[in-house]
Symmetry: C2
Subunit: 353 residues, 2 copies
């Protein structure tokens, strides 16, 4: 190793879900939305004049921030936007989790939390979920450097009721509590409105799932004016212009079409509920999901084997080789047609067992 | 102050140049390119299917990385892309400047370096430019935690010859040396080819200036495979999907049109050289610029006053209220027509003195 390497900050990077480049795969592995973005998005992109790209974007992304603020009935000064919720949460870790005390998050959760904590040298303590994959709010009453958890949780899909989330926020008013609501629009109870009551609460959401725009990289946070100000200061210290012109235009267009948004969420919820029955019929077990995925375990077939055999049939689901969940598959809710193909494939695979 | 605020990481954010929202201003304040992106960029954006936005982008941005690698004749494994060169450099600070020894950069330079160092708690030492605003390579022979400087330097526009850059790289082989070549395409000597010889050299460039795409946020670094691997690990620890689909498509289209790129750079260089004469005629002094801006001081008129009066005429230039340079204006090279309007305005203002 060369000497200059000694001082390099080394990290174990997060491994994103596979993005297969072949056509004709059924992609149920990264929780994308199976439906296209709202029609206004295509229009916004087609109407963009490429000439304007020579100019920097608005560093405050005010068109997008304003659209989000209007939609959620909050002041624009309480909205922060970033390059996907990963960017928003990474900035939040850097800004808010700056104590010597450990931050707390569930042991089974979004695996990026651990990666960020490691990268930024933030001490952390993982709180085990209960046997049934529940977050128990009483486990989060510790003297800590901050709290973060997804609601609904990933990859379990299990949702925490708003009053239980509030219990965690209320018991940790000396630190910042981040509720990662990436999947909230598929049936969970959002605590957005609690950001008026608790200055230490930051709620993060994303356009990647319920707004069909994973490819555009838009995430946002809503919190007290105070938290958003600190977060913006950090963002402006990092990169003044994070949101490019297409993302500002397309993001604003996406949020403008509430009917489309609600309709598509309802469709996914309905497919999910039907899929739960189909999974159950075939001997799968799962905690109840309020997300756009279901985290399933078969009563006899091994998850890893199912994963590999599905992949052989060009159906991609997600498998985590981790303690406690290494016999589970996380299956994104696709279109009904995609799910039917999945169940046909599972029938074939299970028949061979 | 509430208790949770104690542990928040507080920073003094960078103040970006104004982005006036009015029409009909002459914007010579943020070093944007006055010409539109290559025609292929509009085509790439118009041909994008909005439906694909529902899917995550390729996390490796391989289409864009491949286009850059081809263009500069390097292996794709030696190319890193980010959301503007600010993102690339911020990630580089976090990754490479991880020592207790101070990093070195010029006292008059891109003001973000200091902001990143502060935000990431990296010790630094600012090396004064010479009286004539030159970087003296001998000043960088210290036991340090890393080196960064722009070439040409900003906001001075002064370029360092490749052999002098090499001297700095050679004398600091125990640390990483970052050469920020944001403005290199306007006449400086790039040290890209030295990345084959020096494993500790990282060269950063951007699509924001010479490739007319400030609004798309694309920057890149080329270095040894080793450096790029460490940088990518950090990036994947921060945000797996930084480049959105439009930026990958438009970026690849921009770099494909070499004729357009060269033609537009030549046009700006020619306007700059003519503008130098015009400035000189009017009593302005400046170090020779190899960038798309000129850093000027008038022999009698005060910079701050000129700045304000130009602004009153809807002409925006950049003024820095900082020691050593508070009587200078940084003027971006616009179209000939814009520069003619600038000179007419300056004539009016100077006649009133």
């Amino acid at each position: 190793m060369r000497f200059f390497e000694d001082q390099i900050r080394k990290v174990t990077p997060y491994t994103p879900g596979e993005q297969p480049k072949m056509q004709d795969v059924i992609k149920l592995n990264t929780n994308e939305n199976p439906y296209p973005p709202a029609p206004g998005v295509a229009e916004a992109l087609n109407n963009m004049e490429a000439d304007t790209l020579r100019l920097y974007p608005d560093p405050t992304a005010s068109k997008l921030v304003g659209a989000i603020a209007d939609y959620y009935h909050v002041e624009p000064s309480r909205v922060f936007v970033g390059v996907g919720s990963d960017d928003v949460i990474a900035m939040s870790f850097l800004t808010f989790f700056n104590s010597d005390k450990p931050i707390l998050f569930p042991d089974i959760s979004y695996s990026f939390y651990e990666v960020w904590a490691d990268a930024f040298r933030i001490p952390y303590h993982k709180i085990p979920l209960t046997e049934t994959f529940q977050i128990d709010p009483r486990d989060y009453n510790a003297d800590c450097g901050g709290v973060i958890f997804p609601n609904p949780n990933a990859p379990t899909g299990v949702a925490l009721a708003a009053d239980q989330v509030e219990q965690i926020v209320r018991n940790n008013q000396n630190t910042v509590v981040i509720v990662d609501e990436a999947y909230i629009d598929f049936g969970g109870e959002s605590v957005l409105s609690l950001t008026e009551k608790y200055e230490n609460l930051l709620v993060v959401q994303t356009f990647s799932k319920s707004r069909q725009m994973a490819g555009m990289r838009i995430g946002f946070a809503i919190g007290s004016e105070k938290l958003i100000k600190y977060l913006s200061d950090m963002k402006y210290s990092f990169n003044s212009y994070t949101m490019n012109r297409p993302s500002i235009e397309a993001g604003a267009a996406a949020i403008a079409d509430d009917g489309y948004f609600r309709g598509m969420c309802a469709k996914i919820i309905s497919t999910r509920e039907w899929a739960k029955k189909e999974f159950r019929k075939r001997g799968f077990e799962f905690a109840d999901s309020k997300a756009n995925f279901i985290f399933v375990r078969h009563k006899s077939a091994q998850a890893r084997e199912l994963f590999t055999k599905l992949r052989g049939k060009n159906i991609f689901v997600r498998y985590f080789d981790q303690p406690r969940i290494d016999n589970y598959l996380r299956v994104t809710v696709g279109t009904e047609e995609q799910m039917e193909k999945l169940f046909t494939a599972l029938d074939e695979i299970l028949a061979e067992q």
